[in-house]
Amino acid sequence: MGVRQTTILVILSFVAGLVVASFAGFREFIPGLLEGAWVTVRITVQGCLLAVVMAVIAGIAKMYGPWPLRWLAVCYIEVFRGTSALVQLFWLFFVLPHFGVFLEPMTVAVVGLGLNVGAYGAEVVRGAIQAVPRGQWEASTALNLTRMQALRRIILPQALVAMIPPWGNLFIELLKSTAIVSLITIGDLAFRAQQMNQTTLKTVQIFSIVLVMYLAISMVITLLMRLLERRAAAGLSRGRVS
């Protein structure tokens, strides 16, 4: 899907949102749900940032770190990929206090989801680094760059381009996972919807709006990643005919 199609879809989903919102029966729910959507967006953005940082550190540590670091990275990746995100959140929120660690619900949401998605991201980072042709490493060695210099200056900039599409998927996964933070008392979009549904029983209206809102946010993510991908690819192979 190109940038143009994505843009059109984003606009369409907003228009659809406006149309839905303009019906009398829907209008009353919009302000409350928008508040919830704002919480969802904040968790998503912060969670994504943490995920990227964790993924780069864990991915590189797993490939090139000294053995204790490598071991730590493997443990992190396997634990957070191999257990349910919901259980991880509960653990951070309900279990840690037993050991005297009390975290704000928002902190738990960002840390929990960021670490979870970061574990998947670490494998994305590793795959993208391995996909850079071996000749690039060899040229770096021939020019006497150290391994870290080669990684930073030569390999990572190229790997970054290959990482963007899978990261788009992971970011959307993270957005959708935010719905579970409603279970640790955060008033996100899903939580607000549930709450309104219980008091008004207007299930159709409420969950239709919620659906459109999630779609709109995920389309924005898709669009941003497309733009990023296009920019990165242009920087990598200016003028290449492919």
């Binding site: 690039q136 040229a139 021939a142 020019l143 006497n144 200056r153 900039p157 190229q158 200016r238």
Partner: protein, 277 residues
């Protein structure tokens, strides 16, 4: 790689110590011995062409000298220093050598530069940036100095007007010339050329060979090239080595080796190549 003993290359009768010495070097991949007890001296400023059928170990020779392959036996010397090894602790002067540390490798590797069959330019950097990266990062040149050096070398290879072009915007021949400039920017004493024209369209081979010829004429670089261009090897090289099954089957001046090969394998190889070309 085991500890080894190997004598520092002494000045030969002519009075010049070799720039590169392979001293009983062996390389194996599993059970397959790619290079068997290789003994080869290359003098400073000498131009050596390595020819031979595929799988004869000729590219491995260059890759070992660039430290892209570990060796399984013997010692490689560069400019009077052991490259693959370094003097063992407390053994100064005794000739006892231990495998080189990363630091030692980096120090000696700086004397060698390499140009690859598939160019291996950095695709996210312009031609000039390709030439500036290592001088700035490794040699610690200022960006200004590195830019001047890079621009000068790119003009030398005839690409003075393509400084800001990216590899994707250049033809294969132009990319390979950038790669030559990039290697030269590190001021190596030994330049390795690994089938540098094999990936090029025939009409682009000439421009790359012209640059190499110019390098040979204007600089006192030691040059070692693996090539399939027999015409070029004959005209350019001081010495030709014919590799066969991991050993040097025949070596000599181009006129002799091409004109009157002594070894049966050399004769077969040359006639097969001439027939094809």
């Amino acid at each position: 790689m085991e500890a080894s003993t190997s004598e520092r290359p002494a000045a030969a009768e002519g009075g010049v110590a070799p720039m590169v010495r392979f001293d009983r070097v062996t390389k194996r991949y599993g059970a397959l011995t790619v290079l068997d007890d290789l003994q080869l001296d290359i003098a400073a400023g000498e131009k050596v062409a390595i020819i031979g059928p595929s799988g004869s170990g000729k590219t491995t020779v260059l890759r070992m000298l660039m430290t892209l392959e570990r060796i399984d036996g013997g010692v490689i010397w560069v400019d009077g220093e052991p490259m693959t090894h370094m003097p063992g602790p407390g053994a100064a002067g005794s000739g006892s050598l231990v495998p080189a540390s990363q630091r030692h490798l980096r120090q000696v590797r700086g004397k060698v530069g390499m140009v690859f069959q598939h160019f291996n330019l950095f695709p996210h950097m312009s031609a000039l940036k390709n030439c500036m990266e290592a001088p700035v990062t490794v040699l610690g040149l200022s960006r200004k100095e590195a830019r001047e050096r890079g621009a000068e070398l790119l003009s030398m290879v005839g690409l003075g007007d393509k400084l800001d072009h990216f590899p994707g915007q250049l033809s294969g021949g132009q990319q390979q010339r950038v790669a030559i400039a990039r290697a030269l920017a590190m001021r190596p004493k030994v330049m390795l050329f690994d089938e540098v024209t094999s990936a090029l369209d025939p009409e682009l081979v000439g421009e790359v060979l012209t640059v190499i010829r110019k390098l040979g004429a204007e600089h006192d670089l030691t040059m070692i090239m693996v090539t399939h261009q027999m015409g070029f090897a004959k005209e350019f090289a001081d010495r030709v080595c014919f590799f066969y099954q991991g050993r040097i089957a025949e070596t000599g001046a181009p006129a002799e080796l091409f004109g009157n090969p002594e070894n049966e394998r050399t004769r077969q190889f040359l006639s097969a190549v001439l027939e094809a070309g």
